[in-house]
């Protein structure tokens, strides 16, 4: 689950999920919701193998989303599903399936590390805040 919260200049996204894998997938969907993505003319199914490594789990989330963001800007690729082969504190490897080309109604320059904090709540669920530079 994700929700958009106010930020004076940018967009603040809160993401919650039951597992780490779901948290990464929900954050990806939250990013797409801000971009207002829709299938473009002649959109076809695609599949991509993505590997990202980072210094910690929070940075991994941010770097993973920036990888997703680059792909939407460069190849107009949008992914609906993620199948995780690896998801440790410092590395994610997954198979992404979706469509290309996609169209965007809004721009996001980057997902920032500011306020990002991937952590587990007392009830075992996972959460983070994300600030997107728009």
């Amino acid at each position: 689950m994700f929700s958009v919260e106010p930020h004076v200049a940018d967009v603040r996204l809160r993401v919650n999920a039951q597992t780490r894998e779901e948290l990464f997938t929900e954050a990806m969907r939250g990013l797409y919701s801000v971009l207002h993505v829709a299938p473009g003319t002649g959109a076809r199914p695609i599949s991509r193998h993505v590997v990202v490594d980072s210094v910690d789990l929070t940075a991994l989330m941010v770097d993973f989303l920036n990888e997703i963001l680059s792909r939407v800007h460069i190849g107009q690729e949008v992914f609906a599903q993620a199948k995780f082969a690896t998801l440790t504190d410092t590395e994610v490897a997954c198979e992404l399936t979706g469509i290309a080309p996609a169209e965007l109604e809004a721009d996001v320059k980057a997902v920032t590390y500011h306020e990002a904090d991937v952590h587990q709540e007392a009830d075992g669920s996972w959460t983070t805040m994300l600030v997107l530079d728009i």
């Binding site: 980072s54 210094v55 940075a59 169209e103 109604e105 721009d107 320059k109 590390y113 530079d133």
Partner: protein, 460 residues
Amino acid sequence: MEKRHLEKIHDNLWEVPKSYRGDMHVPARVYTNERMLEAILRDRSLDQLINVATLPGIRKHAIAMPDVHEGYGFPIGGVAAIDPRDGVISPGGIGYDINCGVRLLRSTKSFADVEPVLRPLAKALARGVPSGVGRGGPVQLKAKDLELILRDGAARAVAMGYGSQEDLNRIESGGRLGGADPERVSHAARERGRDQLGTIGSGNHFVEIDRVDTIYDEEEAKRFGLVLDGIVVQIHTGSRGLGHQVATDSIKTMMKAMARHGISVPDPQLACAPFRSAEGEGYFAAMSAAANFAFANRQLITAAIRRVWTLDDDELEIIYDVAHNVAKLERHPDVGEVIVHRKGATRAFPGQPVLIPGSMGTASYLLVGHETAMHESFGSSCHGAGRVMSRTKARHEIRHDDLRTRLEKLGIVAEAGSVKGLVEEAPEAYKDIDAVIDVVANAGIAKKVARFRPIAVVKG
């Protein structure tokens, strides 16, 4: 942060002393009057400025301009000067939109000449200058062309036929940062910017036709060829996706390098590396290349505007072009050579034109920098009005048709690619630009030359 934590230096300058937090290396200063300070304290911009004051090698003060507002890492409207010998460079201190900036063009026509053709002129601008998400530019750059743009900036655009040598003389740094190394720009960054040269983009970027409504300094106005009721055109945009990706790549690199360099920062978005390190030098070279892309971008947009500007015997000459998201090696009194980070701040060297755009319904200003800026603010001034309302709130509270009606009543023609893009940039989403400029002028870091009122706005 509360008001009691600040000391008043004078009516337009306040300081958070170094003793406020144990990890501050220097005090933090904010140019503001007491009334605007109350508003600034409502968001976290000064807490972010305190974080900037902890960066290794920072000299004298971390500075916030009166248009400061909360960003991520650095506040928007922040300035930091860092010693390159033992200090760092932080991509977060420049931001994702590297060399976002403003260019000001001057028409030889008067408002009376332009008013009868304003609507078709605005439509022609909207057609002729690509704006909005996903609209490609007029040129598909080959790999070699992009390489030369990254190396030579606006000069390469001129060599490609988009302008003249005279244009280059009226751009900050001649439209080319010498430290650029295209090899430091990733494949992803090149791909992201490949079709975006000559495009405005979305968000707060725009092309605007303005009427000169006030002259404050006749002599300076004459120097820039400005007269009352004259016409100017502003361009506000930056390095587009190429710059966004350069920043993303570099911050990720520095996140990994900080531990190796023994650096810790209070906000990961301030990720940095020693200026004299492989990561620091690599970022500076890539950032300079992205800045050159932005200078070339505004040069191509200038050429596109000139093409559709069909008023008889008119010429659009550049008054000046400034970057407001950039880092530069500069020499300043007392501190010598420093790497000046300006994030939402404009260089304001003595006599230099300083371009301050307002929101789409309010005034914009031409100032000139003053010697005081060299001693107090590392030759820097503000960059705009500064947001006070979130985009989400703007979309919820501002009705599109009401906004259009208000703009019409103000005599402003708006050509916007999207309803969302228009309401998010409504005048009430921003601070009072006149108050922001008064602070800068009263503090003595820049002096007012002329004020402009928008008559046509083109947005993505």
